[in-house]
Symmetry: C2
Subunit: 202 residues, 2 copies
Amino acid sequence: MNDLNSLMKNRRSIRSYTNERIPVDVTNKVISAAYFAPSAARRYGFDIVVVEDSLLKDQIKTICEQGERTWVHSRPNEVKDSILQLPGFSFQKNFLTDAPVLLIITTNPNHPNIPYPIESCWLAIAYMILEIENSGLGTLTYTPSICLTNRRHELNEVLKIPIDDHIQVILPMGYYDVKLEHKESHVERKVHHNTYGTPYFK
Amino acid sequence: MNDLNSLMKNRRSIRSYTNERIPVDVTNKVISAAYFAPSAARRYGFDIVVVEDSLLKDQIKTICEQGERTWVHSRPNEVKDSILQLPGFSFQKNFLTDAPVLLIITTNPNHPNIPYPIESCWLAIAYMILEIENSGLGTLTYTPSICLTNRRHELNEVLKIPIDDHIQVILPMGYYDVKLEHKESHVERKVHHNTYGTPYFK
């Protein structure tokens, strides 16, 4: 398969979705991709909540927007400024209600019998992101900042998620009209040969 | 691209490698895949050490094997037993010297200006794993247990990795003779509809 590389390269974060519905077998294919990812001790120590209900999406949007305003304004000034200047950043999270499906991935990072829960989760999230792209849909790797605070229970309560489970990501999923071009990353200096500090790319 | 799904599905962890060399452009393609992954605030807050040196691989193997014996034997009995019964588990880590290339991915989980370092790292690791599979090579998501202990500096020192950077994974990469069949995961109960506890798959 030669075009895995172009599939990876052409993926961009999508923040604006059309209201076109997603066929259920497409959603199911994205979900099944999560379970093809490697998972520590084959435990698949994460849950997926598939949100399609409009009222729930409204509530999620309100909580995420309020939580993010509070969190960002509590940061030191230089951190706050750097967040506000991120490409595409806005306190308005319209993608949470525009996208027909939200995939919410949770894990209990302190579970005594699940090794590497965060790591396994994010391998599965990468698989889902690629399957979304492969299906001609868009997504965004949205990490609600309210989940970094002591108000994270608000999202859990709306979704009835056990409080020990932490929301890792909300992946809005939908069709879109506009996608930006591929953007080069220049990170060759972060690749080392044999020992750290010896450039791999001469 | 229809076969992303079968690429994902057919990947299996590989623990035994042939001594066939890997063309440099294949290694470079795998490295470049890491930088196509989404990364929080586009920071790519990880480093990759590409180890090909035989003496270094010997040292890594010795440290990982000793560290794992110590770590496993320090676990409570029931945890120790479950580790020893994991499919493919052995204290011998021959893959660390047999595989022609080891890709070691590190990040500083406490860096003040890199958001979500672990999460971004593991998205990149998933991309590399898929590009390795796509190149007809095998890998294993190997997380050295010595990195969970206060002896993790031993690996960092051999590789000259700054002590604030934590090794997340060692991906051995190489050709192989034997690969197991796809193994089904039965995790439908972990997919919920709208709210947690309502099964998505009826």
